[in-house]
């Protein structure tokens, strides 16, 4: 693989403003500057070109993993991050680099007009370098998106599991929908934390809205009841459907400490009695 020649460096330097103009033009024509400030685009394109020139000048070679390209990689990672957060897709993000190809090839063709061998060699070289950078940008973009998705999943998980305060000292966790092992774990942990934060002595886990539980989740439910007792609070489970009752009994676990009520209202009544609170009509 031939290295980039000084001639290429000169060609780019001499035509820098035209190159930047054409590049930005190509970006705009393809909608790759959507929601970006004009001055940001100018600054980003100029910065990338400067980094490329620095890289070539320092003989960094065509392997973008080389230390000479560290600044360029870092710049592209930052760019890719910001694009991903702006809602750009991977194509639009990578197009930042691909759009440079056309204008750059024109400049090189012009410069090496009389040296077809050098032209071919330099075009290939430049093309490979830019492709590598585009790949790097896409990879970073994907990682950023994955992080965004993971965060959203976690937020959703928390949204779907609200721990509510029913009374001073009484927390309730109304569970709705199918419980998988991961969700039940997150939910139970947040319930335990809320017990400590609020100093609540009684927690009610209402599973009226849960159609069925598998063995693992049933086990988790019972472990949570035990953990709550170890922390010094009490737990009542309400709304146990017949099928879930069967699963729990079939597990053969010790149900000695398990308090259940038919529905949430009965559970609240029991909780209030335990706290020594009685309600009367006025």
């Amino acid at each position: 693989m031939a290295a980039l020649q000084d001639g290429t460096l000169d060609a780019i330097k001499n035509q820098q403003s035209k190159l930047l103009g054409d590049w930005i033009g190509a970006l705009e024509a393809n909608g790759a500057t959507r929601n970006l400030k004009e001055q940001d685009v100018q600054q980003q394109t100029a910065e990338f070109l400067r980094l490329i020139l620095d890289g070539i000048r320092n003989d960094s070679g065509n392997n973008i993993a080389a230390p000479g390209w560290a600044d360029t990689r870092r710049f592209l990672e930052g760019l890719s991050n910001s694009r991903a957060l702006l809602g750009y897709d991977s194509h639009q993000t990578a197009y930042f680099i691909f759009a440079l190809k056309g204008p750059l090839f024109t400049v090189l063709q012009d410069y090496y007009r009389d040296q077809p061998a050098s032209l071919a060699e330099q075009l290939l070289s430049v093309s490979e370098l830019l492709d590598s950078f585009a790949m790097h940008t896409i990879r970073t973009y994907q990682k950023t998106r994955e992080a965004v998705i993971k965060r959203q999943q976690e937020e959703l998980l928390e949204l779907s599991t609200p721990v509510v305060k029913l009374w001073d000292g009484v927390l309730a966790l109304p569970m709705i929908g199918t419980l998988d092992s991961q969700r039940s774990q997150v939910v139970m942990e947040s319930l335990l934390q809320r017990i400590v934060d609020t100093g609540s002595e009684i927690a009610i886990i209402d599973i009226t809205g849960v159609p069925t539980v598998d063995t693992l989740v049933a086990q988790h439910l019972l472990k949570t009841v035990t953990a709550i007792r170890l922390m010094g609070a009490d737990c009542i489970i309400s709304g146990v459907r017949p099928q879930i009752a069967q699963t729990i009994v079939h597990l053969g676990l010790d149900l000695g400490g398990l308090v259940t009520k038919a529905n949430l209202s009965d559970a609240l009544k029991l909780a209030l009695t335990r706290l020594g609170i009685s309600l009367a009509k006025v």
Binding site: E189, L192, K223, A227, I228, G232
Partner: protein, 119 residues
């Protein structure tokens, strides 16, 4: 030798564990406590583990033993302040401490002890 201090509050003994527990320290505490219960005729023992970020099977067993020993010596034991992560881990470890009474914090633990002793 390092020791965990035992405070006397009326009829009750209060132990607040704030250091990283190791086995010898746990055994010493067990001996000190039974000795103090017998010497002071204490009616209850309150063990506060709010500051403990880990309870393994050894410490768990010590708590269980203290509870059993004090029962034989006519004193109630209440364990208070276990952190959520510690409770989850203990259950996963297979230690349910069924014979040990628990409360959320020192204040509630004291109330529970008073109720128990009055009975």
């Amino acid at each position: 030798m390092e020791r965990i201090p035992i405070l006397k509050m009326g009829d009750f003994l209060l132990v607040t564990i704030q250091v990283d527990m190791y086995d010898q320290l746990a055994l010493t505490l067990q001996d000190d406590l039974t000795e103090r219960i017998s010497r002071t005729s204490a009616r209850g023992v309150l063990i506060d583990i709010t500051a403990l970020d880990m309870v393994d099977s050894f410490i768990g067993r010590m708590i269980d033993t203290i509870s059993s020993l004090s029962k034989i010596m006519d004193a109630e034991t209440v364990l208070v302040g276990m952190q959520p992560a510690v409770a989850i881990t203990l259950v996963e470890l297979g230690l349910y401490l069924p014979g040990v009474s628990t409360a959320l914090d020192v204040e509630r633990g004291m109330k529970l002890l008073e109720q128990r002793v009055r009975l």
